[in-house]
Structures are given as structure tokens and as C-alpha cells.
Symmetry: C2
Subunit: 383 residues, 2 copies
Amino acid sequence: MKHFLLATALALLPGLALAEGPCCATGDLGLIVERATGSALVVDRSDHAAIGRVEGLGDMSHASMTYSPDEHYAYVFGRDGGLTKIDMLTQKIVARTIQAGNSIGGAISDDGELVAVSNYTPGGVKVFDAETLELVADVPADGKTIGLADLPGRRFIWTVWDTGEAFLGDFSGPEPMITNLGVVGKNPFDAVVTDDAHTYLIGLFGEKGVTAIDLWQTPPAPQRFLENYGKDHEDMPVYKMPHLQGWAFTEGQFVLPAVGQYALLWVDRETLEETGRTEMHGQPVFVISQPASPYVWVNFATPRNGVVQVVDSRTHEIVKTLEPGKAVLHMEFAPRGAEVWVSVRDEDKIVVYDTRSFEKKAEIPAQAPSGIFFTARAHQPGL
Amino acid sequence: MKHFLLATALALLPGLALAEGPCCATGDLGLIVERATGSALVVDRSDHAAIGRVEGLGDMSHASMTYSPDEHYAYVFGRDGGLTKIDMLTQKIVARTIQAGNSIGGAISDDGELVAVSNYTPGGVKVFDAETLELVADVPADGKTIGLADLPGRRFIWTVWDTGEAFLGDFSGPEPMITNLGVVGKNPFDAVVTDDAHTYLIGLFGEKGVTAIDLWQTPPAPQRFLENYGKDHEDMPVYKMPHLQGWAFTEGQFVLPAVGQYALLWVDRETLEETGRTEMHGQPVFVISQPASPYVWVNFATPRNGVVQVVDSRTHEIVKTLEPGKAVLHMEFAPRGAEVWVSVRDEDKIVVYDTRSFEKKAEIPAQAPSGIFFTARAHQPGL
């Protein structure tokens, strides 16, 4: 009744459009990238429902996003250099800028005041005021920047594909302080910060091995491990480079997709030694820990991308194989792990599974969905 | 302007009170227990501001709370058996029940549909519908129940002081399934689930030692460790039993307050062996990990409770001693670790520190504040 009265009152007011979405709590909302239509589907996690759609986001291939600390705004990083700020309450675009020719992800500072974007063309990192999207810092690079992530204390870290260097940017003072952390290897293709913000892990395309930087050291120094890891000439073709943001961190281990192979690699988090290997259904793309559990969930590169497998990190054994549908592109867990949302691009739907029973709880129509991003990411370092 | 119009429209509507708080995003809100006045202060974390107060909550000594998955509602567990549901958007009580004579905390199921309360008088666990607060299950116990926590899959775990038994309750089916996990020791006084929901740790009052239950085992079985841990006749008097919910889990270790002593104990998470000891300013009460960092923050029992100390979990050394004011009762971190809020009861204020510079960022007046609870807890298992 109150809702009805409120709606009526709002509708009667000139110049005040009725919000399309509920002006309500934002803890269980999310956005799902609809690449083909340049849009984002707004979802309510508790209701297993789509509650709106935001259009006009430009080239959303490989798009990602991050949220403000109050879960009020999403910052969407498009492939075309577009940076778009979406109000999750009104489901409207409140600011948008084409800040570069070609970008590949971004991050928000721990205090929520700065949004940073990593760019390919021209290479570098641009930092914006999170409220207005005004440019506050421009850090050029001698090449494409990849693996941008936030660190505590208004800092960001990133790596440059062409020069192989990693950089730490401190934006807590009046002037940015940029530190070159040295060469991490040849052609780093992606990088990720662990869930405790302790380690920056960098995958290499131009040579074998993985590089770790201990962020709690002063100064942080690159350390090479898994010297035999990476693309191999004898391997199968790499259909899709794995996303390092999907590297799972569980039970004292890192779990890595073996590039070009049908396998996961397990690495001891302390010693950085390989401790195991799991043969999988296909080339892993995302390897994501199910919260509050010993399990990781894995999806695969085309053409074997109709399957999701669940692996026990204690035994390294596959415990479940699911077939959600054609072209599974992404998975996102409810933050306490009760369910997982899976995007099935070529069947235009999201499938929601109960993580304990593996039963299908819901299906939600979406337009060629890819990345799924819940607002709970606002509270996690490095996301 | 829109806000003004909206406010006007709402004010004109009969029977529709204007919300006192902002009907807005809920990701950075919080409640602070004001014990003496039976109230809770509503705070905005980003603004470092109090934005309202909810009164009529009954006996708020030792009160705690949990949040719904959408961060819309808080469930407050009062010492007098009161269970109160607060709407964070309107800052109003929407439901309240006196469900027992004396209660000591509660938890919400991972799907947000059930709220469980652990009771002293009469002993047992009562489970309520999170929407209506209607009773849906009543599990009596042969004594006072302590250490209630949520586990994935609509499950809860708890322990009984009088009998020393731990119980696992599964509420995912039509009927509750209650499993007795066996005796964990004499007079368990509190218990906690680790951040990955892997281990249930139980502190004992009636004998020495700590008990761990591996929740990923089938069936989970109690395992004793630290056989010399606990209250000692030679020790100083115990001014306040430490809160186990404050046990920090960091760098592969558990960090425990040494009961009755001026010290922290460090225990290897895998082997459960003691690995170190840190002499402290007083008897530790809360020992809490700063997110995305190697640090734990510690407050102390009366009469040495005007101090907070910060310890590096790698070296086990104190790196900072702060003096926020008289009677520091609780600390809560911003979820990504940028700042910490400290309640200073006898100076009627909250002090906010930058965790990197240790500078004071803000002070917020509050009435004899104790527990601080941010809505981000909605997304964490076991909180």
C-alpha cells in the first residue's frame, strides 16, 4: 500500500520520473554484461530476477566493472575506452567519458574516491575522481597496460605488456608517486592480486614461468616461479588466454589454468612449488573459489565451453561436472557461497545453481550474457 | 531539487511518514550498540557521520547483530532475549519479539531466510523466519547455548556450556536435522568459525586446551590442541573473558588471546602447534585482522582498556600503540581495510583511524558505544 501511494505521488510530480528499479537496499544487486547489445542487465540476487537494463554502454567486449563502497554506483570499463558510471538505484547512466582509444579494465581505490583505468591505446593509467569522472592523474606508459588492481592506501599496481615492467602508483598524497618495480618477464598478459592483497601474480606470454611480487615487502621485488609454466610449442593451440582474475586461492594454494592444456596446476602458496595437477574437460578459462568451501569451479575455452567442473582443493579431484548450456562465459558466487550464477551466452540465459545440491535453482533470460558482477565486490580488495 | 520535490510529495501523503534516513544505497551503513540507552546509532561509513538512532531495543549489554543479504535489515540480538529487526533505510523497528529470557547472540542462514538465536534461559536454539520473525524451529538444549554460527547450506553450529557438546543443525530440508558432534571439553565459553568456514574453534573455561572441529570432514570430529591453554590458578584474575569472535586468522595462523595474561598466542593453522607469543599491554579482548594486511589490532580488558595495539603477524611484534581514550570496547574495519572504527565508551565517541598512517580521521559522538557492525558483514560467512 505504501509502495502504491508512493508510486502514485511520484507519478503526479512534474519532471520527476518514477525510478524504474526499486530505490532500496543495494547489497544483493548486480550487473551482467550483455556484450552484443552494449547493455548491462540489472539483477536482484535474492529474487533471482532481472529488474532492469542499462543501455548505451558502447563496446562491451571484455568489459569489466567495479563498485563504489556504498554499492550505489558501478563503474563500467568498456573495450572502446568508455568509462561509464551507473546509478544502481535509478538504473541510469550518471556520467560517461571516452577516456582512451582502447582500454582493458580498471579498479577503484580502497577509499572509493579514485577510479583508475588501464589503457592499450595510448598505453598508461588514467585516474578519475569517482564522483565526477574528472581526470585527476594521467600516468603514461611505454606500451599496453594490463593487470591493474587496487591496493590498500589509495594505491594501484599495474604491468606493461611491451616493456615487461610492473609499477606501483601511490595516490594518497598531493602528487602521485609512481615506483617502477622492475622487469617481471617478457610480455606479461594479465596479473591479479591475491584475496589478502599480499601477492601480485603475473602471467607471461613471451616466456615460460609466472612472476610473484610480495606486496608486503619494502620494496616489493619480482620473484619468478613455475619456470616450466606457460605456452608450449608442443601444446594444443590456445583458444583463449585464461583470465588471471579467475585464479583461485584456496587451502594454502594457488590454482592456475595450464595455458593451452586440459589441466589445472596446484601451487603451494608459501614455497611457490607445484604440488599437483588435475586433468580437466578442456582448457580452463576461469578458476574461481566457492566461498566458505574447499571447492573451485572451472569453465572452459571454446569449443569445449558447454561444461563447468567442480574440483576439491584438498584432493585435487573433480567432484562434479555440470552442463549449463552452450558457451559458458563466466561464474559469480553469492558472497557467502550458497549459490553460483553462470552465464550461458549462446542460450541467452543465466543459470543459478545451489552449490551444495548442484540443483538448478533458477534461470534468468539475458541477451548473450558474459561477465556477472555482484555489488558485494565493493567490499573485496583487488576486485 | 528532486529530493526536495520527493520530500514534499511524501509529506503531503496521508499515512506515509517521511523516512528519517536516506532511502539509498546500503553498502556503507552500520549500527553501533549504545548499551546504556538501549539504542543503536546508525552511521554512514563514507561520510564518517551518525545519520540516525534507533531506540527501544531493550537490554543491549553484550548485544550483537547480523544483516540480511541485501543489507536492508539488521537483526539485533539483545541480552534480554529480544530479537529486533531494523530497517536500515527507514531506521525503524519493523519487527520485535522477546523470544527467550536471556540470549547471547545469533546468526543468519547463508540464504538469508532464517535467523537463529542461542539462548541461556531456557537453553537452546530458536530459528525464525527472517521476514516475519515467526518461529520455525525450536531446538532445546540441556544448558546454556554459546558460539552459535552460520554454516553454508542453511546450517548452524552451536555448543552447550553445561554438557560440553557441540551440535550441527541442518535446516535445508522440510524438517531440521540435528547432529550431536560429541563432547568438546568442559564448560565451553565461546566458539567461532574461521573466515573460510573450515574450522569451528571452541574455547574452554572448565579445563585447559582449545578444541577444533574440521567442518569439511564427514562427520566432523572434535580435536583438542594447545593443551596448556586456558585459565591458570597462578594467573592474574581474568577481568573479562576474551571474545572468540575476535580471534584473528592471518598468515596461516590463528591468533589467540592468552586468557588472564598480558599476551597473544600464535598457532599454526595446519599443525595446531603454538608458534609464538607476544607480550602485550594488557589482557587482550578482541584480536582482529586488518583486511588486506599482515596486521592484527588488539584491545584490552579493564582497567588497561584505554589502549589499542597493532601487531605484525609475520614478526609477531607490536608495531604501534594507540590511545583512543577511556574504555575501548570494540573495533570494526572498513571491509577493504582502509580505516578502523574504535568505540570509546567512557568518552562517548567513536574514533576513526587511517590504518596506514595511524592518523585520526574523524570522531563521531555516540552514547557509551560498544559493538560496531557495518553492513558489509552481510557478505561474510560466520558473521
